[in-house]
């Protein structure tokens, strides 16, 4: 399954150009189970990309880990979920030097979160390569209580923090790495449209 094509939307909605090897330059790669396929494709196009790459797999099963191991990255790290991965990402970013490429692959939640950590460290967005694979579930911020709800698959959905019913906007915050959810029935309390599955 290649890089997901998303339907055209507002400029705020991120699009993902796909991973392109920068050769044997230092690299930090963060991927989930679906995104690991993009790393395999990247390395099959240019195996030298793994020579100086630190790979961090988030929530990947043992067989995925061994497929990446077979690509011989400089180092391979693992974390069960995004929260556990965050301190590792920060450590990799803080030890890295200019000229390091950041490769992100997998869900929009993972890419948005890691890209936000990197831009907060001063890395320009243009220096971050991203390829979407797998779920189209979104990482949503409730604009009312500011709580983040992960893996949102329907529109509207219920904020996991304050319980408001939120409309899924294409408006994306690069600072937070999350889409914005806005109360769907603020003007007409209780009148809530039927939930639809989020599509690409």
């Amino acid at each position: 399954m290649p890089n997901t094509k998303f339907s055209p939307s507002i400029d705020s909605r991120p699009t993902y150009a796909g991973l392109v090897s920068q050769g044997a330059a230092p690299g930090i790669m963060v991927a989930d189970a679906a995104g690991a396929d993009a790393l395999v494709d990247l390395a099959s196009a240019d195996s030298s990309v793994m020579d100086r790459a630190h790979v961090l797999l988030v929530g990947a099963a043992a067989d995925t880990v061994s497929r990446i191991e077979a690509l011989h990255p400089k180092a391979l790290h693992g974390a069960p979920d995004l929260e556990a991965a965050t301190p590792l990402v920060k450590r990799l970013l803080s030890a890295a030097r200019m000229g390091t490429t950041l490769y992100l692959a997998g869900s929009e939640g993972l890419m948005g979160h890691v890209a936000a950590l990197a831009t907060a460290e001063g890395l320009p967005l243009e220096a971050i390569q991203m390829e979407h694979r797998g779920t189209v579930a979104r990482r949503m911020q409730c604009v009312h209580c500011k709580g983040i709800t992960e893996d949102v698959t329907t529109d509207p959905f219920t904020c996991s923090h304050c319980g408001l019913t939120l409309f899924v906007r294409d408006h994306f915050s690069r600072r937070l790495g999350a889409f914005q959810g806005v109360c769907v029935d603020a003007e007409t309390p209780g009148v809530v449209p039927d939930a639809q599955e989020i599509r690409a």
Binding site: Q22, A25, L93, S94, A96, R97, M98, G99, T100, T101, A118, T119, A120, E121, G122, L123, P124, L125, E126, A127
Partner: protein, 315 residues
């Protein structure tokens, strides 16, 4: 463009060629504060024309008690800096624009590397005060030919992260050594001669720095050149541009309405559409792309000149 009527309160020679000027409100009212890297445009009435040059502010951005600039005398220029050096005295009234900033720090950066060549030190003097207050990590590299010419030396604090490279003393700046191994998230800023700006950009590209982490400002006054004339579409009038006058200055003197900000070819505000061009536009700005220059359909009147039979502007 909002203007401030100020008074010259201090003039000090920093080096044989560079003077520092301080301007304050005549009644002592506080001036708008600014951000590091900002500039003001100074008006210099000279006979029937008003010359306007932009200069970086070198004082503390948070200090509204006055604005300070440093001016290097350019004897081959059009006379703006010579005017500042020879005609302006303490106590004089002076009109300046409100501060504007085309060379601001990217405050998301984890570290800032500032590289100055010669008089290009000026925007960094306000930036490093801002960085100091914000306690942001930075290093400054200041290159000058000789200690005598390094006017900025007297305005720089003596600190471990401020490096002075005097080429006459054999201490040339090594850009590779400066840029290699900087932590991820570092941004570099260069101000000085074109050669230095392109050398830093080339070195950063070789080391794999993203373009958006590389900033520069080549603040140059408009170059003099051969006289030429332009036709203004709205009135059909022909305006003469003198050798020591910029096209923008000539249009202003002829009361043609035209917007501007930096007057140094960097901000894009005076961008003007060309209706007819029989000849060659001498593009001296930093705004238009190579393709736009080749088209000859736009001109930046603050910096650029013309050589040929006819140039008509959509003004």
């Amino acid at each position: 463009m909002s203007k401030l009527a100020l008074k010259v309160t201090e003039i000090e020679a920093l080096s044989p060629l560079v003077k520092r000027f301080r301007f304050e409100d005549p009644a002592g009212a506080p001036l708008p504060v600014f951000s590091g890297g900002a500039h003001i445009t100074v008006e210099m009435p000279d006979g029937d024309t008003i010359r306007r040059n932009s200069y970086s502010l070198i004082s503390d951005p948070h200090d509204g008690s006055g604005y300070e600039i440093a001016v290097r005398r350019e004897d081959r220029g059009r006379g703006g800096s010579r005017y500042m050096h020879t005609r302006v005295n303490e106590g004089d009234a002076i009109t300046v624009s409100s501060p504007a900033n085309l060379f601001q720090l990217d405050l998301r950066a984890r570290k800032h590397v500032l590289i100055a060549g010669g008089i290009g030190i000026t925007p960094f003097l306000s930036q490093l005060r801002q960085l100091g207050i914000a306690q942001k990590p930075y290093e400054l590299h200041y290159a000058a030919r000789s200690r005598d010419e390094a006017a900025g030396l007297r305005l720089l604090p003596d600190a471990a992260h401020i490096h002075v490279h005097i080429s006459d003393e054999g201490a040339r700046m090594d850009l590779g050594a400066i840029l290699d191994g900087q932590p991820l998230g570092t941004h570099v800023y260069t101000c000085g001669p074109e050669g230095l700006i392109s050398a830093v950009a080339d070195q950063a590209a070789r080391l794999g720095w993203p373009k958006t982490a590389v900033h520069s400002e080549a603040f140059t006054a408009p170059p003099p050149g051969e006289p030429f004339e332009v036709v203004v579409k709205s009135s059909g009038r022909t305006v003469q541009v003198k050798a020591d006058q910029s096209l923008l200055e000539a249009l202003e003197a002829a009361q043609v309405e035209i917007d501007y900000s930096c007057r140094g070819g960097a901000c894009g505000r005076c961008r003007t559409h060309v209706i007819a061009c029989d000849g060659r536009i001498l593009h001296n700005d930093h705004w238009l792309s190579e393709a736009e220059r080749a088209e000859q359909k736009t001109i930046m009147p603050c910096m650029s000149r013309f050589k040929g039979a006819r140039l008509e502007l959509d003004l």
